[in-house]
Symmetry: C2
Subunit: 246 residues, 2 copies
């Protein structure tokens, strides 16, 4: 097994155990965009189902939009089949649902997709939805929220919904993007990954560069920043003994 | 009044009101190192005592150490006198208190000074101790704690002690260092400021440079980072609804 495969499995297993992301009997729905991240996630959750020592079910869903004709759904289905991951494809009207005068944007698209995902998960009795965000995504979001929104927040590793009996999990939270790229290249699916035709989030790209400069790519620094998200000393932020709640 | 004087007074007044740093009847002891920051603080608190619309008392204390012979205490006393700030000097053995075999370090020195400061404040019936840390100090500490300790924390704007009837305040928390430098130069005390002979905190200097690169010196970005310290969304950091407490 290549070095990055080992590292990915070790870090996913660590995150699963540390944050109780997956437990005995869980039915986990993987949101498979067709991109390198969620495809790697599907592989990792499949591989770990044989070694973690408890039973859970995984399945992948791909939400097709009405503006992406390039999706290599069949290739994705075939790839996931080699890892014994069942696959389903749900076509959703994204542009078609826009009200007159409104233009396409990431917020609209992702909220429509998230809605379909929740619906599908509930109908299929899934209690967990697994998303493919990795360590670099989480750190970028943290720094973007801090510098643009003036808020300490990011994409949580685990999020329980109030309204639904569903928990959102991010098992790749401790995996660096470069490991995922290494795996995707060695497994030969990097070139086949879908990219969104609208996808050019320049603010995120700028932050990615700033962050690379700031951390110097030092994994120790990146992990300590990640750790800090779960190690909040309220008294020494706000000076208030009573923690701030939202 | 020069531009930076106006900015400093506006930002100190804002911090005082926003975080209830000083209130009617407070007795505020300023920890005056002789450096530009705490000297500027003494000036600002003196100037604002005439305009904030409520009464408070200020006084400055300088803790002299047994290793700093260069202190321009008399110059500091005279300068503070021009702003009607009473001044006291307390000599403390810092090196002299070291146990055999121990070497001098910042942690030891600052804890010894802090101890003397608390003692003096209690004996003088001061209920607030004002420290000269500014916006850049607070952001640097935040980033250092995050990347080195893996903790979200900094120097709080206001900290109530459990053991003492004393509150620590940092009225310069929203003031950039460059404003302080501008004021210190125009008021002619920049060159007279004391610097510690041991003072070369290289980790802090490295962080200062990294941070300047990261923010590009953009005041908006710096203020949003500062705001984020008081705007913690626990659920989107840890995924836990119950806040983490220390």
């Amino acid at each position: 097994m290549a070095a990055f495969e080992k590292i990915i499995l070790a870090q996913v297993a660590k995150a699963i155990q540390r944050y109780s992301l997956i437990e005995e009997g869980d039915r986990v729905l993987i949101a498979a965009s067709g991109g390198k991240d969620s495809t790697t996630l599907a592989w990792a959750l499949s591989a770990l189902s044989k070694t973690l020592g408890f039973q859970y079910t995984i399945s992948a869903i791909h939400i097709s939009s009405d503006f992406c004709a390039c999706c290599k759904k069949i290739a994705l289905r075939d790839l996931l089949a080699t890892w014994d991951v069942p696959f389903d494809d749900v076509p959703v009207r994204i542009i078609g649902r826009l009200k007159p005068g409104r233009t396409m944007n990431c917020y609209w698209c992702s909220s429509q997709r998230r809605m379909e995902l929740m619906k599908y998960a509930q109908e299929g009795n899934f209690n967990k939805i697994a998303l493919g965000h990795h360590l670099d995504d989480i750190l970028e979001t943290f720094f973007m929220n801090m510098t643009q929104k003036g808020e300490l927040s990011s994409m949580p590793v685990r999020l329980d919904y109030d309204k639904y009996p569903i928990t959102l999990i991010r098992p790749l939270a401790m995996v660096e993007e470069r490991q995922i790229i290494g795996f995707a290249e060695s497994a030969g699916f990097r070139a086949k990954a879908c990219t969104c035709p609208y996808g050019k989030n320049s603010k995120r790209r700028v932050m990615r560069e700033k962050l690379a400069q700031f951390t110097g790519g030092d994994l120790g620094v990146k992990h300590r920043i990640f750790e800090s998200l779960h190690n909040v000393n309220m008294e020494y932020l706000t000076g208030l003994k009573a923690p701030v709640t939202h």
